[in-house]
Symmetry: none
């Protein structure tokens, strides 16, 4: 349960909270003259909100820890990420609306290519297209063995999710992906004795499934990783008395939102504008909107600072339509940093903007940037405090003690 001290203080007053996450927003300037993506972007609306509201910076997991997307989002949602560990398989399955119930196990899969000796020649089968991969993944979905039910569902291109449904399946299993070519896929191995039943059944299924696609020309093998089971997270409604909605383009983020009981909304259009229009359409139906922008992270990973800055500008240009809805609390932040200079996620603190015109405390900072956020009125704080701040500024928390 997110902070248990919140629960007795909760009061549903009908206020509206928006958490706008630009994935990997945080950036670095390696030199005093350098600029981050956020500093490069022209963001008049965010700067106005920064001037009116309060800045700060978050530590996603712990000092020095570079988070994956799953734990970084769980932290923003108020779930202590070292306590609530959700396997990638369960996240991915949730992201394509494939339920993972107690006793089931899920994993991520890649199609790959194998040579005549069964050794991997390409771990991603030449990144074949969605259309090329679809029929092969369908063949995998047809493979069944006694005692369990197996669902295999394409995610995107050569990537799929597998869910094995049964009883007493535990997910402490090692990946079959050896993370290198020139060797065969690894056997499924149980990391704990409780997982031996699952290992045995998966080994059986993998054998049969490998035969089923052995003669496919573009991808004749597959690799599994991130075995996971239902993490059993408490819901937003239970933890915060919030009816919460997720507005996101990518499966992963829909997945983690579903795990905490958010409704995932159908987008009315693409990009930030489409996402904000989606918020407008459903505005009366929810208390809390999590809006996720993916491409800031993608450009960061590519080392494309200007591309990242451009996405931030797109968000800024679309923001007035979100502000028209008059949220009581608007928070703009990232889940972690993805500095273009490092071309990867990083541990650096993440800029955080809180705007709540009826309750915020204005600080001395006037523009939204990493440098200013470091000196902002909220200080440097753990991302897992985000929901407490949101609820407080929305006046949804009663006094603690008399």
């Amino acid at each position: 349960m997110p902070y248990s001290y919140l629960k007795p203080l909760l009061e549903d007053n009908g206020s509206k909270i928006v958490l706008l996450v630009m994935d990997g927003l945080g950036d670095i300037a390696l030199t005093p003259e350098g600029k981050t993506a956020l500093e490069t972007a022209s963001t008049p609306t965010m700067d106005r909100l920064a001037h009116e509201g309060t800045l700060g910076q978050t530590i996603p997991i712990r000092y020095g820890i570079t988070p994956g997307s799953g734990p970084a989002h769980l932290a923003l949602f108020g779930y202590e990420p070292l306590e609530y560990v959700v396997g990638r398989g369960a996240l991915s399955a949730a992201g394509i609306d494939l339920p993972v119930n107690r006793g089931d196990i899920a994993a991520r899969g890649n199609l790959c290519t194998l040579d005549k000796d069964g050794k991997i020649t390409d771990r991603r089968a030449g990144r074949i297209s969605h259309e090329e991969a679809a029929p092969i993944i369908s063949l995998l979905n047809e493979v069944q063995i006694p005692g369990v039910k197996v669902d295999v569902r394409q995610v995107k291109e050569y990537r799929f999710v597998i869910v094995m449904r049964g009883e007493g399946l535990e997910a402490d299993l090692h990946d079959t992906d050896p993370q290198e070519v020139g060797v065969p896929p690894l056997k499924v191995q149980a990391a704990k004795s409780g997982s031996e039943k699952a290992a045995k059944l998966l080994t059986e299924w993998i054998e049969k499934a490998t035969e089923a696609i052995a003669n496919q020309p573009v991808a004749n093998g597959f690799l599994l990783r991130g075995f996971a089971s239902d993490p059993g997270l408490p819901s937003y409604e239970d933890a915060y008395q919030l009816q919460a909605a997720c507005i996101a383009e990518y499966p992963m983020y829909k997945g983690v939102s579903r795990l905490v009981g958010m409704d995932v909304l159908d987008l009315v259009g693409p990009g930030p504008e489409g996402e904000f229009e989606t918020a407008r359409k459903y505005w009366q139906d929810y208390d809390f909107f999590f809006i996720h922008i993916k491409k800031t992270d993608s450009y960061g990973e590519d080392g494309n600072l200007d591309g990242k800055a451009h996405i931030i500008e797109e968000v800024d240009q679309a923001l007035p339509s979100l502000l028209d809805l008059k949220p009581d609390v608007l928070m703009i932040t990232g889940d972690h940093s993805t500095p273009a200079a490092l071309k990867s996620h990083s541990w650096h603190p993440v800029p955080f903007l809180l705007w709540a015109p009826a309750t915020h405390r204005t600080d001395l900072e006037t523009t939204f940037s990493e440098r200013n956020c470091a000196r902002g009125g909220l200080g440097t704080f753990p991302a897992v405090e985000t929901m407490s701040l949101a609820l407080a500024h929305a006046r949804r928390l009663l006094k603690f003690g008399a």
Copy 2:
């Protein structure tokens, strides 16, 4: 174990980390016009690093807590100081390379003077010289009792360490130093029942040893404090995959470094210059260098702000030779504050400078000072996070979660 979540993320990439500790660096300015020692000192090189890198300030133990040197250094090394409590006796013994093994107990000793009634007249025997004290301490070392082996070794001047080696000796014992004159030394008393065996043996030894030096003219008694046993700290290699070296002039700091498995290097010369030259000599042999400057603290304790500032300037002048070695991460900080205005250790946050040209995030601060560090990009953080930040900026930590 320092943060257990670090261990599965560690990756040895051959990068080099330097932790430069100016003991008691933090200072206070009591008035708006006043300056701290760091603000008084001319430090062009540190200011350049501050401009290029990131500042912050650490809380050594907890808010408001004034640390001793032992816990302050353990925190910087990543060992939660409220969890890893190392007695001063064990630290001092380690500092002079006197092993304290499981079952042994160690304590610090002072020679003192006693009047004819056995009452203390000077707790430090007039701070007699190393040469005067040496033969008296030798006499103590000769005193043995059945069932245990006792080692007494001079540290400096009137100060010594005693280690009693045996079986089942527990160190929960009260000091014999009453911290005042005009009263006799206290009896050794067990603070817990498990320590009664040790108390009995020590009482026996103290009686015999007091007789042995009763007729010495310059010091005819002694006081013991800081009883401690082997703390069993995990090593730097185990906790961080770092081959670590200590470069320090004073026994205490060598001691605490040895307790975490650092190699203590022989200095090639005195002062900051000699210490940095020592780093150069051993640069290829280690991943991590802890370099300790003592005199900032000593001048702080003396209330000599200018003396403290002068030492900081000496360090600054020698710094270019350290930078020539091209460390991947250089951190410059103190273990705690020793404000000259207070003539003692204090609880104030400690200035922290992080310079890692390939990974740091430049902030708005341009000079290394307490005032600027309070606004720096790293925020105010527990000293125990120092190693996580070091490993991250050295790119020695993999991503947490997917």
